[in-house]
């Protein structure tokens, strides 16, 4: 049997309430506290979080919901969350919904009752669904914004701006854009960033349509891009950019001489691609960590309950896949 407060109380010759106070920081005489702590340590006492949660109403745990842990983007987010959680001694339930919206809603329903809060990565669900399922008081959206819910997002519009300016500075005048899922918030943000250059006389943004935000989507996009007059391409994300790189190589189009390629997100893959990929870096792990702080009321004056909207800066990381126009 596990050691309980009872055991510690008996061994220390005090009451259970004194043990509880000594361990949780109530008002106890210093000598008593010390004695209790010593006994607790000697007995290897670990408080039962469930029992504590039952009475305090706080579980000390929170939930993280992601569409796919295999996607390096979400793995990075999860890493940021777990790292911060470890620092503040908070448990993290992770739910991988496998891109299934139904599983996502189920996860929200379960976790909202069994945790102190939910960090939600939901690129695809509709605003209304999210608003219906989530509790605004203790839900923080990661990398997506929905009015009425707290969120931590990256400044995608500015990231797009940096990418296009970079390519323009390299002499590119016709830049293809490979879009992602049409209904997603991230897609809309990217397009908003591109729209800024609509009035730029010397520049043409050529949309080659939407593809799946995957390696295969990028392979598909490769041919579409080569069919046009573009000398550079901005991809929806690094997975797409990597597929693009492959297809270009297979078609004999040398990067960056024939075509410059810029990705999005700066996942670890970007540095390992061939050639290494120029990419708009998004602070994925930091977003996770800040989201957690918001949930726990540790983010300075901001809390999730107040409907905080945090925007994190993006940075263009220049590698070998982008170069001067030939």
């Amino acid at each position: 049997m596990r050691t309980t407060v009872q055991d510690v109380a008996r061994a220390a010759g005090v009451s259970v309430s004194t043990v509880s106070r000594a361990l949780t920081g109530g008002s106890v005489s210093p000598s008593t506290r010390e004695a209790v702590m010593a006994v607790a340590h000697r007995l290897g006492y670990q408080p039962n979080r469930a029992a504590r949660g039952l009475i305090t109403g706080r579980t000390g745990n929170l939930g993280l919901i992601v569409p796919d842990l295999r996607n390096p983007f979400f793995a990075d987010v999860a890493k940021g969350v777990t790292a911060r959680a470890r620092a503040v001694d908070c448990g993290v339930f992770i739910s991988d919904t496998d891109e299934d919206p139904v599983a996502e809603l189920e996860a929200i329903a379960t976790l909202r009752h069994n945790t102190d809060g939910i960090l939600l990565c939901s690129p695809r669900s509709r605003d209304a669904e999210l608003l219906a399922a989530a509790d605004p008081q203790n839900t923080v959206l990661l990398h997506r914004r929905v009015p009425g819910l707290s969120s931590v997002v990256a400044d995608i519009v500015d990231g797009t701006r940096q990418a296009i300016r970079h390519l323009r500075a390299l002499g590119h005048r016709r830049i293809a854009y490979v879009s992602g899922p049409e209904d997603s918030w991230a897609t809309r943000q990217r397009l908003a960033g591109l729209a800024e250059f609509g009035s730029d006389a010397g520049l043409e943004i050529l949309s080659v349509g939407s593809v799946a935000p995957t390696f295969d989507g990028g392979v598909l996009a490769g041919d579409l891009v080569l069919a046009g007059p573009a000398t550079a391409v901005l991809a929806y994300n690094d997975l797409v950019a990597t597929g693009l790189l492959h297809r270009l190589a297979a078609r004999g189009a040398v990067v960056p001489e024939r075509m410059s390629v810029v990705g999005y997100d700066d996942i670890s893959l970007a540095a390992m691609s061939h050639p290494p990929l120029t990419s708009v870096a998004v602070p994925k792990d930091r977003a996770g960590a800040i989201g957690l702080d918001l949930l726990l009321g540790r983010a300075g004056s901001m809390t999730a309950a107040q409907g905080a909207e945090v925007i994190l800066p993006t940075t263009l990381v220049v590698r070998a896949s982008s170069g001067a126009r030939h």
Copy 2:
């Protein structure tokens, strides 16, 4: 306030125990069960797992400890665990120890008291430490074997055999091997596989030493391999193989014409490398799922408490990075 069994009981006009029975599968009349279920659903009732766990002694949750979620290998393992967990309605605490052995022991200590069991990925800790910290009754080791603890591992010896035979069939006679962390179980297994070919007269296995099991480790290994007479190389894992591929490309050594490369683990990166990587596929997600079943006593007759040792088959996936000797 959340709805409780009390609320459901009142609304359904029955006692709390009837509600409990109706919801957990006790003996209740079909009509009552149906009525209770309907009311529970209407009220959006979600049982408080903490309260349930307090009395049943089972939390319905388990813990997964990994060194690094960013590593695709462990992301795959986590995916397997969470997918199976979702199917059996079980929560998963994930703890990313960031390769820190101290954090790992802390995670074990916390989770063993707050979950029904622990799935542990610990490539580096020493056997004795693990045996001291873990409870053999409800701990399952993933991708590592320690006498006295249950484990789910891949047949690495056979995987190595397949890789070497593949290269030999392609005409290679001098095969370099890039080793990983010297003290790890996985490293020893790979070496055991290679040892089988020690007496093969027409074959020479050239060890080029140990490197970090990362992309950078592979870059480093590239030069070491090129300095020798080998025409093919087997890398510790796919991350190393990818770094190798990069360095070989940078040095002008065409793969597979000048050098065949075979990796290990078949992470998603393998299919996206340039050229796509031949790799020994390890059933990462299946291992996670089976580990979970072992913990929950759902794996047929086997349970973690009995010290089960499951060995999963490996398969060589041939892609473009390996070819006939020139």
